[in-house]
């Protein structure tokens, strides 16, 4: 009986302590800028989330080292989306209501980003979604307060697709992750086939969470016509598993694979042996653009023990997103939402570690930027630098690949 | 007239035959005992009669109606009630509630869902009547599991009575009771037998021979004898198979 009493007492004290620690009202005086970082640290995209948080941390620390913005230090308040849109919406509410953040950024998962942006728009809080690619984020679910830092699927596919048609072949087979991101990727690919006169040999719809691709690979092996390109819009863990099995079934030797997007952590997981194909890349740490080398060096200094030793695309987008958001507040001279939005819309910056400047498009809030075309290096090419997985074989300017106003007829909400 | 009749009932579990070719008639208004050694298939027979098991072969007729394969609750509503060998009462609720539930089932009020149980006067009154009848009124608010074993036995039967059965099947009502209590239960059975037909599974030959009008002897799943106490006592086969030197 005594033991039980102790346990309950302990629990009660712990509870009270938690409440006291956590529920203290936020200091009323505006002495700091509160940046809500909302990105996954559990669930399917936990590692991408960690990567983007590293980028965000770097941007915030660099700005704070220079004295912050508007004379105030920037404080990050981090919440986990659990890669679950319902949880993401809840956490966004928490950041807005309780922590009273001035703006939010983060994302990775398009579905989480859409859920967050819905909440943010209603509360009139700026939200930068980093590292999402679904066209819906700046299309069907575009909002006045919502900005997308990374390129959209459309941009990625229109970078890699025409290149594949020209250089590899016109007969394509699709492997599509069977959810909105995957299907929108394949839909854009079909546009490309139509535009450039290619043929589609079929499509395999792969359920999310598929661990075993053998049946699909066998199916491809038995196609009556051998495809020139197997165009994959498969992501995350499933992509790692797929690369594994493509290698296992020896398909990497006799087939060409194209990928709508390649996240660096996925290749890092499977290693150089199984890294294959041609793909679109958002950013790469070996780009020959101004500022890249310095950025990589700063990253290595700041995160000597990071699981991935170089900054990759998620980290880059996190960094750029956080930096531009804070800079815009500085330009606007206030933390109010509407002036910052106005300071962002149509803004162009060139210290973006890419070849051409990036523009924040005013009518759909898409960051228009260079998209790169990459090819997987052979394992022996990695001798000198084990992190250098990709060969960058070309790039497309943002305006050449982004959707036009006709293709994406969005109407943002009025300013509030 | 037979109130209950089985025709060639058979039940197997895997390779074991629990009941084979059982043909019995239960006389209305009488007390019938079923005896037999452990594992003779007595409880299985009860389970078949009450619809808990479906026989592999054969039929069960009740009041001239074929009830084979009917679900338990339907058979119970037809007027067959049962008490169990292992105590089978609701342990976590008061004694009164046990009886009340049974009366509630009898009055078909189970699906009323917005009126408090205390507002159903006819149920509550009837339940108190029954408690009075079986002599458990004094403990009506006690949580059932704290009752004495004998009281639990009585309660078990009381629950069965609440559904106003025409036919009551009792599975070893005296098992585990001290002799004084056995006497109490025996008298109780005698008393209620005036109102209904009773079938008992019983080991205590003393009880069997004093209360029974008819005795059915089961051995290895088959009926080996059937008749009045005197006939059974005189039956050599029964003596050999079961009674041994007891009587």
């Amino acid at each position: 009986m005594k033991k039980r009493g102790t346990i309950v007492g302990f629990l009660a004290v712990a509870l009270v302590a938690f409440f006291v620690l956590n529920w203290q009202p936020v200091a009323a005086a505006e002495k700091e800028v509160r940046l809500g970082v909302i990105s996954p640290s559990s669930g399917n995209y936990a590692d991408q989330g960690a990567a983007e948080r590293r980028g965000i941390t770097m941007a915030v620390e660099e700005i704070n080292a220079k004295g912050g913005i508007l004379g105030m230090k920037v404080r990050m308040i981090i919440e986990d989306t659990e890669t679950d849109p319902a949880a993401a919406a809840r956490k966004a509410k928490k950041l807005i209501e309780r922590d009273k953040v001035h703006f939010m950024l983060g994302g990775i998962s398009s579905s989480c980003a859409i859920a967050i942006s819905e909440v943010a728009q209603r509360a009139n809080v700026i939200y930068f979604n980093t590292n999402t690619n679904s066209d819906a984020c700046t299309g069907k679910h575009a909002h006045r307060t919502n900005f997308r830092v990374g390129p959209s699927n459309h941009m990625l596919v229109f970078a890699i697709g025409p290149w594949l048609i020209k250089n590899i072949g016109k007969k394509w087979y699709f492997m599509t992750h069977d959810y909105s991101w995957g299907r929108s990727g394949t839909a854009v690919n079909r546009q490309i086939l139509k535009k450039y006169g290619g043929t589609e040999l079929g499509e395999a719809l792969i359920p999310l969470g598929t661990r075993d691709f053998s049946s699909y690979l066998i199916k491809i092996r038995n196609l009556p016509t051998k495809p020139d390109v197997i165009m994959c819009t498969v992501g995350g863990v499933d992509l790692s598993a797929m690369l594994e099995q493509v290698h296992e079934f020896g398909m990497d030797k006799d087939y060409n694979f194209g990928f709508t997007l390649r996240d660096y952590p996925d290749v890092w997981a499977v290693g150089p042996e199984k890294n294959i194909g041609y793909f679109a890349v958002e950013w790469y740490h070996k780009l020959d653009a101004p500022g890249v080398k310095e950025f990589v060096a700063r990253y290595k200094k700041r995160f000597p023990n990071a699981s991935i030793p170089v900054p990759e695309n998620c980290c880059y987008n996190g960094y750029i997103g956080a930096r531009e958001l804070l800079r815009a507040a500085q330009r606007a001279g206030t933390l109010e939402t509407t002036p910052i939005i106005k300071a962002l819309e149509g803004y162009t910056f060139s210290d973006n570690m890419k070849y051409n400047p990036t523009t924040i498009r005013s009518w759909d809030h898409q960051f228009i930027q260079d998209v790169f075309i990459g090819q997987a290096k052979k394992p022996e090419e990695l001798k000198e630098d084990p992190t250098d997985f990709h060969k960058i074989i070309g790039y497309m300017k943002g305006e050449e690949v982004a959707r036009t106003r006709e293709e994406n007829p969005v109407q943002l909400e009025p300013y509030r | 007239m037979a109130i209950l009749e089985t025709i060639g009932v058979e039940k197997r579990f895997g390779g074991l035959t629990a009941n084979a070719d059982i043909n019995i008639q239960i006389e209305e208004g009488a007390i019938t005992s079923i005896i037999g050694p452990n594992g003779a298939g007595k409880t299985t027979l009860f389970n078949i009669l009450t619809g808990y098991y479906k026989p592999d072969r054969g039929e069960v007729h009740y009041l001239g109606q074929n009830i084979t394969g009917w679900p338990v609750h339907k058979i119970v509503r037809k007027g067959i009630a049962r008490s169990f060998q292992v105590l089978n009462i609701f342990n976590e609720i008061p004694v009164f509630e046990n009886i009340r539930l049974a009366v509630q089932a009898d009055q078909k009020k189970g699906f009323h869902f917005l009126k408090s149980t205390s507002k159903f006067r006819s149920i509550n009154e009837r339940a108190e009547e029954i408690l009075d009848e079986i002599g458990l009124f004094r403990v009506k608010d006690v949580i059932t599991k704290y009752l004495s074993y004998g009281d639990k036995r009585i309660l078990e039967i009381g629950i069965a009575l609440a559904s106003r059965p025409r036919l009551l099947l009792m599975d070893e009502p005296t098992s585990g009771l001290p002799s004084s209590e056995t006497e109490r239960v025996k008298n109780f059975i005698k008393r209620i037998s005036e109102k209904m037909t009773i079938v008992v599974i019983e080991h205590d030959m003393n009880v069997v021979l004093t209360i029974s009008d008819n005795i059915i002897v089961l051995h290895q799943g088959r009926v080996i004898a059937q008749g009045s106490p005197q006939e059974i006592k005189a039956n050599d086969q029964v003596q050999e198979a079961y009674l041994g030197g007891i009587v």
């Binding site: 640290s41 559990s42 669930g43 399917n44 936990a46 590692d47 960690a50 069977d178 395999a204 719809l205 792969i206 359920p207 969470g209 598929t210 661990r211 075993d212 053998s214 049946s215 699909y216 066998i218 199916k219 092996r221 038995n222 863990v237 790692s240 598993a241 690369l243 594994e244 099995q245 296992e248 079934f249 020896g250 398909m251 952590p265 996925d266 890092w268 997981a269 499977v270 290693g271 042996e273 199984k274 699981s307 991935i308 | -």
Partner: protein, 289 residues
């Protein structure tokens, strides 16, 4: 036709692995009446231990030792926590293993990090092989062989050893084991450890194919459930047949309608439930009704 046969073959190979996975799950379910949610996490642990061990000891020793360590983890879990919920409301066992699964997954994140890993298959089974029309992965053939050996070993253990007889009795009725006068407590601990190491070994085998992620356990848990529901609780052959059915449903639905490949097993499960509620090989037990 060639594709049909290839898919059929592939389905069977996958089915064997699901069988191994589900067998451990089912033994724990049958003997302890505990739905072991942590089975997936143990599967993942097997793969992660192998990842670390093979760097030091090489593949073969990793294949051998990793399941043993997982088995020990299973024993510890049983000994400290799970044994306290036997014979209680099944909800407790369910929640307990659910919590353990979460905690173990997070432990993997803490120890090995959030990023994915790849285990290299041993050299002699790396790459593809062509057998007539069938172009197949050598590693999977190796895996099929391994699974077959495992299944045979488990079968021999269940059929030919006294412990097997007790476990089988326990599967249908734990009271019977008590009646046999055997030490139920120890039996349960051992079965839990054994089931855990079966999950571990499935993890080691699957690692080189499916690549490693902290969430990998969650993803393979559901097929085990479905296998057990289809095959029926308490039957060795139920687990094997259920595994094969799930494997085949995954590969064959790719031929017909790939979108269904995940849903298919649930549909099959629903049909089995309609026609034979206790599963194909399941015996009627006190668990139902």
């Amino acid at each position: 036709m060639a594709e049909f046969l290839s898919q059929l073959f592939n389905g069977l190979v996958l089915g064997l692995l699901f069988g191994v996975m589900a067998l451990g799950f089912m033994m724990i379910l049958g003997v302890m009446e505990v739905i072991n949610f942590a089975h997936g996490a143990l599967f993942a642990l097997g793969a992660y231990f192998a990842l670390t061990l093979q760097k030091v000891l090489g593949y073969w020793l990793a294949l051998l030792i990793s399941p043993l360590i997982v088995g020990v983890v299973g024993l510890v879990i049983e000994w400290t926590a799970v044994r306290r919920v036997y014979q209680k409301d099944p909800l407790f066992g369910l929640l307990m293993t659910f919590g353990l699964a979460m905690a173990l997954e997070e432990v993997i994140r803490i120890v090995w990090g959030k990023i994915g890993y790849s285990i290299a298959a041993p050299k002699f089974v790396a790459g593809p092989v062509a057998i007539g029309f069938l172009w197949y992965s050598k590693y999977r053939l190796f895996m099929a062989l391994l699974s077959l050996i495992l299944l045979t070993a488990v079968w021999l253990f269940l059929e030919k050893t006294p412990y097997g007889a007790i476990i089988k009795a326990g599967v249908s009725d734990s009271e019977m084991v008590l009646a046999l006068g055997k030490d139920l407590k120890r039996l349960r601990t051992l079965v839990f450890g054994f089931g855990a190491s079966l999950a571990g070994i499935a993890g080691v085998i699957a690692g080189p194919m499916w690549s490693l992620k902290p969430t990998m356990g969650t993803d393979v848990l559901m097929p085990s459930f479905v296998v057990v529901v289809i095959g029926g609780i308490g039957s060795f052959w139920g687990a094997v047949i259920g595994g094969l059915i799930v494997g085949l449903s995954k590969s064959m639905s790719v031929l017909v309608w790939p979108r269904l490949s995940d849903l298919m097993m649930y549909f099959i499960m629903a049909i089995v439930l309609l026609l034979r509620p206790r599963g194909i090989m399941g015996e009627k037990s006190l668990l139902e009704q």
